[in-house]
C-alpha cells in the first residue's frame, strides 16, 4: 500500500488533494497547476451562468483568490472541483443580482438580451442564439442545476456539495430545467401548441 505520491512527483500528475497539501506545505506553485486544471471549467460555467465573458472572468478570478485564501478549510473527502464550484456559484449569484439591479436602473430590458458572442462558434448560428436566450430565461437555480449536471457533468452528490441543495431537489430542478428548455427551444409538445 502506498502512502501517496512521491515527494518529487511532478505536480501535474498529482491529485487535487495532493496539490492542496503541497500548497499548504508552502509550495505555492502547486496552486498554479490547480488554476490551470480548473480555471477553464470555472470560466465556462460562469460564462454560461452570467452570459457575459467579462463578468465571468471577474467572478472566476474572485473565486480562485477566495479558494486560495480558504484552502486550509478544504476537506479532502470532497471533490476539489465541487468545493471550488460552490465558491464560484456564490460569486455568480452575487454578480447576477448586482447586474440585475444595475440593468434595471440603467436600461430596463437589457438583461433579456444575453451576450450571444460568448457562445462557441458552432455551425448552427441560429441554434447558438436560441440556446443563449433559452439558458438566460431559466431561473438561476434551474440554470445552475442544468449546467452542473449536463455541461460540467457533476454527479448529484458533487452538485449537492457545490450548491448546498439536496440530491432530490437537484434532480427535480434538472428535470424542470430540461422541460423548460425544450419549450424555449421549440422542441417540446408545449411549444407546438
Amino acid at each position: 500500500m502506498t502512502d501517496g505520491p512521491a515527494p518529487d512527483a511532478p505536480a501535474n500528475v498529482l491529485t487535487d488533494a495532493a496539490l492542496v497539501r503541497r500548497v499548504l506545505n508552502g509550495n505555492s506553485t502547486a496552486f498554479t497547476v490547480l488554476v490551470d486544471r480548473h480555471a477553464p471549467a470555472c470560466l465556462r460555467l460562469a460564462t454560461r451562468m452570467l452570459q457575459n465573458r467579462h463578468d465571468a472572468e471577474d467572478v472566476t478570478q474572485q473565486t480562485l483568490l477566495r479558494a486560495y485564501k480558504a484552502l486550509g478549510k478544504y476537506d479532502e473527502r470532497e471533490q476539489y472541483r465541487a468545493w471550488l464550484f460552490a465558491i464560484l456559484l456564490n460569486r455568480c449569484r452575487t454578480a447576477a443580482q448586482t447586474r440585475a439591479r444595475r440593468l434595471h436602473v440603467v436600461s430596463p430590458g437589457l438583461d433579456k438580451a444575453p451576450d450571444v458572442a460568448v457562445l462557441p462558434n458552432v455551425a448552427r448560428a441560429e441554434l447558438r442564439d436560441d440556446i443563449a436566450r433559452a439558458i438566460a430565461q431559466l431561473e438561476l437555480p434551474y440554470r445552475e442545476a442544468f449546467l452542473l449536471k449536463h455541461v460540467e457533468e457533476l454527479s448529484y452528490e458533487e452538485m449537492a456539495v457545490a450548491t448546498g441543495v439536496g440530491v432530490s431537489a437537484l434532480k427535480m430542478r434538472v428535470k424542470r430545467a430540461c422541460e423548460r428548455l425544450q419549450i424555449l427551444l421549440g422542441d417540446g409538445d408545449d411549444a407546438k401548441q
Binding site: 500548497v23 465556462r44 472572468e57 478549510k73 448552427r124 427535480m172 428535470k175 425544450q182
Partner: protein
C-alpha cells in the same frame, strides 16, 4: 435508491435531440486568455500563504472503527486496568485503614476509612485508625488532635503483622491527620477527603459524628 417520485433527469434528457445539440454547443470550452491567467496568478502570488486550520473543529474528524476492533480494544483496556489495579493498589504496596471489625478471618483488618468504635466521653468518640505498612519499622499518627507531634501517638502492630493500629478519642467535629511512616508523612489512602496544608503536604480528614 431512487424513489418513484424522483425524476430520472438523464432519461428525460436523452429523449430530446435538440437539447443534445444544444449541449454540444454549451460544452465547448471557453478559452482562457493568457493575460487574464497571468493577472490571476500575480494576485495569488501577492497573498499570504494559506494556513491549515488548527482549531479543534477543523482537526476533528469522525473516524470509523470496526466493531470487532472496538470490542477488542475495550477488553484490552479492561485487562490492563485490572493488572494495574492489582499491582499498584495491592495492600502490601499502599497503606490502608482498618475498619475495626475484629474477629474475622482477616484479623479485622481491611482497607477502609477510620472507624468510630465507641463514645469515649461526652462530646468525644474513639476512632480506630489503621494503616497497612508491613515493611515499616515505626509508624505514628499526627494531627490537629496531638499538635502534629510524630512522637505523641505511636501506632502498634496488629496481630496480622501488616497493620498498624491506634485508637484515638477525638472530639466531635472535623480533624486533619496523617500517618508518619519511618519519618515520612503519608496521607491516609482511605480518607474521605484530602486537602493541601500550607506546606504542600496532603492531609487526610476524618469527621467525627455527634452521638
Amino acid at each position: 435508491m431512487r424513489s418513484n417520485n424522483e425524476p430520472d433527469s438523464d432519461a428525460e434528457f436523452a429523449a430530446t435531440p435538440l437539447l443534445s445539440d444544444a449541449l454540444h454547443a454549451l460544452k465547448e470550452p471557453v478559452a482562457v486568455r493568457a493575460e487574464w491567467r497571468d493577472s490571476v496568478l500575480r494576485e495569488i502570488a501577492d497573498l499570504p500563504r494559506p494556513q491549515t486550520e488548527r482549531n479543534g473543529f477543523a482537526l476533528w474528524r469522525p473516524i470509523s472503527i470496526r466493531p470487532l476492533y472496538a470490542i477488542a480494544a475495550c477488553l484490552a483496556a479492561m485487562v490492563v486496568g485490572a493488572v494495574a489495579a492489582t499491582t499498584v493498589l495491592r495492600p502490601s504496596v499502599l497503606p490502608a485503614v482498618a475498619n475495626g471489625n475484629n474477629g474475622d478471618a482477616n484479623h479485622g483488618v481491611e482497607s477502609n476509612a477510620p472507624v468510630q468504635l465507641q463514645t469515649a466521653s461526652a462530646g468525644h468518640k474513639t476512632i480506630r485508625f489503621a494503616l497497612v505498612a508491613p515493611g515499616a519499622s515505626h509508624v505514628s499518627i499526627v494531627g490537629d488532635f496531638n499538635g502534629w507531634d510524630p512522637k505523641a501517638t505511636p501506632m502498634s502492630f496488629a496481630r496480622d503483622g501488616n497493620t498498624w493500629l491506634v485508637d484515638m478519642p477525638l472530639s466531635v467535629g472535623r480533624h486533619l491527620y496523617a500517618f508518619v511512616v519511618d519519618g515520612d508523612i503519608v496521607a491516609d489512602p482511605s480518607a474521605a477527603r484530602v486537602v493541601d496544608d500550607d506546606f504542600g503536604v496532603q492531609n487526610s480528614v476524618v469527621l467525627v459524628g455527634a452521638p
